[in-house]
């Protein structure tokens, strides 16, 4: 960043002028004249560059010089900045409990559920995998529009390969966090975490069907922001004996300073159990036999519970 250097270089001069002004006003005038002569004699000095950069960017002569390619480069370099500053400001905080409501059915149902849940920074909205695969990344921007401003949105894209492209897509659609599978190749997870850092969104690793989450974490170059302990819906429906490995929550938190999310289920009892076991985020979803109001009620009792 050249601007920073220039500022550092010229601050002492300005300071000197001010001090001189206090001691003797005429001395400061002499100093100012010297400075003006210096700039005039060295038009290519960094001070001049600074002025040119700040004002000159908008003049015609400069834009004329710019080739198409440099414009394209500029736009692409600005893009992540825009998404960062407009959508992705909210990040998860440690030592705070969150309820993540997964929306998996249709956008119409998503709208209805969102309208009924209480507004709170402890409630995260998840664009579920089926929703993303059926409606595309547009589902995320639509959910962002439905939800109150500043809502934290998780894109459950369950990345398995080509992490860089997926993260970019999710971040640009307005997600605050994106998920990657723990069973994906380590190279993919590493690249996923790195890309999430670039786009200033939280990275979550979904440990579904991973026997030992710690062994995956050990292999990574950098830690993700959150780990999701997960029992799949198909699994839990067809083999009831498979349990969420609650004991792993303490194990992970004891070894690494990261958030642990637990895919809880659809009742307040399961939510309580996850919180009791020290989970930071509890993921809940609506079952097809439940009404939307029940999901909203679940959110309310969660907020009552953690207070």
């Amino acid at each position: 960043m050249p601007t920073k250097n220039i500022k550092n270089k010229f601050n002492p001069i300005i300071l000197a002028i001010i001090i001189a002004m206090i001691i003797n006003p005429s001395l400061s005038i002499i100093l100012m004249i010297i400075l003006i002569i210096y700039i005039k004699k060295n038009p290519k000095s960094s001070f001049f560059d600074l002025i040119k950069k700040n004002i000159g960017n908008n003049t015609d002569s400069q834009t004329m010089e710019e080739t198409e390619q440099s414009i394209v480069e500029k736009i692409t370099s600005i893009k992540p900045f825009i998404t960062q500053s407009f959508f992705n400001q909210t990040r998860l905080v440690k030592n705070k409990k969150y309820l993540q409501i997964a929306l998996n059915s249709t956008l119409e149902e998503a709208r209805e559920i969102i309208s009924q849940i209480p507004v709170s920074d402890r409630i995260l909205i998840e664009a579920g995998t089926p929703l993303i695969k059926i409606y595309g990344a547009g589902a995320i921007s639509q959910i962002r529009n439905m939800a109150p401003a500043g809502t934290y949105i998780v894109a459950d894209n369950k990345c398995a390969d080509l992490a860089a492209r997926e993260v970019e897509m999710m971040a640009n659609a307005g997600a605050n966090a994106s998920t990657c599978l723990g069973i994906a190749p380590i190279e993919t997870i590493d690249s996923f975490i790195e890309e999430c850092g670039k786009f200033n969104i939280d990275s979550m690793i979904d440990m579904m069907n991973v026997e030992n989450a710690l062994s995956v974490l050990k292999k990574l170059k950098k830690l993700p922001n959150a780990v999701i302990l997960h029992r799949g819906v198909d699994e839990s429906e067809f083999s009831k004996e498979k349990q969420i490995p609650y004991y792993q929550i303490k194990q992970i938190k004891g070894n690494y300073n990261i958030l642990v999310a637990v895919a809880g289920g659809d009742t307040i009892r399961e939510v309580q159990r996850a919180i009791f076991n020290d989970a930071d985020i509890v993921v809940v979803w609506k079952n097809f036999y439940q009404s939307n109001a029940e999901t909203a009620k679940l959110a309310e009792s969660f907020l009552g519970e953690i207070r």
Binding site: A139, A160, D161, R165, P185, N209
Partner: protein, 223 residues
């Protein structure tokens, strides 16, 4: 439906829909070509992407085109399969590393919807172990080396030796190989008795060259 005896070239598309439209127009109208809606394309456009690909390719070859939806299903198999079958996909993929219950459910749902089931063995060391656990066999087993893996770790190779083993044990299963990108890789894939070779990178990098690339790859089948 796929023919057991035939060899197929599966081209995965991951660019924007506008570009994909032009690329499909450039392809030779060959039934040996299978069009794949790549995972990033599905996650970007959803069902709409699959419907578009189906229409363009069917229009090009003047009959129902074969479209693979690379869902990489991990959970909730039935819902995703239903959606892509409705959009006109002829096959869908499920991860081999997904819970066994999900794979079983996925295969069952594919049968119900009348589409082919493909199990993607990316990051699976022994595809056998997974096939053994299943209630029913999928239509296709995909032997796969991921893109991120390949770029960062050159030692990982496509397990060509697995093809014969799987075919010897489970006669009816078709084998697809993904992760080899040059015509040489494709020749080797078919030589090792694979039924489908999946490619995408050269098409992704030079979409304008689609026609030539496809011709070049199709030549490898005729040998």
């Amino acid at each position: 439906m796929l023919n057991q005896r035939s060899k197929y070239l599966q081209i995965a598309f991951n660019r924007s829909l506008d570009e994909v439209r032009n690329m499909i127009a450039l392809l030779p109208a060959s039934e040996k070509i299978i069009i794949e809606a790549g995972t990033p394309l599905i996650k970007k456009y959803g069902k709409t992407g699959i419907i578009a690909l189906k229409n363009w390719w069917s229009g090009k070859i003047q009959k129902q085109g074969y479209i693979v939806a690379d869902l990489k299903c991990m959970d909730r198999g039935s819902r995703e399969v239903e959606a892509v079958a409705e959009a006109g996909a002829s096959a869908a993929t499920c991860l081999g590393l997904a819970p066994t219950e999900t794979i079983n459910e996925f295969i069952r749902e594919c049968e119900k919807a009348g589409i082919d089931s493909m199990i993607d063995m990316m990051n699976v060391e022994f595809p056998f172990e997974i096939l053994q656990k299943l209630k029913k066999l999928p239509t296709v087993v995909v032997l796969h080396r991921g893109v991120d893996e390949k770029e960062k770790n050159r030692e990982k190779k496509i397990p060509h030796d697995q093809i014969h083993k799987i075919k010897g044990t489970y006669g009816n299963v078709l084998i697809s190989v993904a992760g080899g990108e040059t015509p040489r890789d494709v020749v080797r894939t078919f030589f090792n008795d694979s039924n489908i070779a999946v490619i995408w990178q050269s098409f992704y990098e030079t979409p304008g060259n689609t026609a030539n690339l496809a011709q070049e790859f199709l030549k490898t089948i005729k040998k």
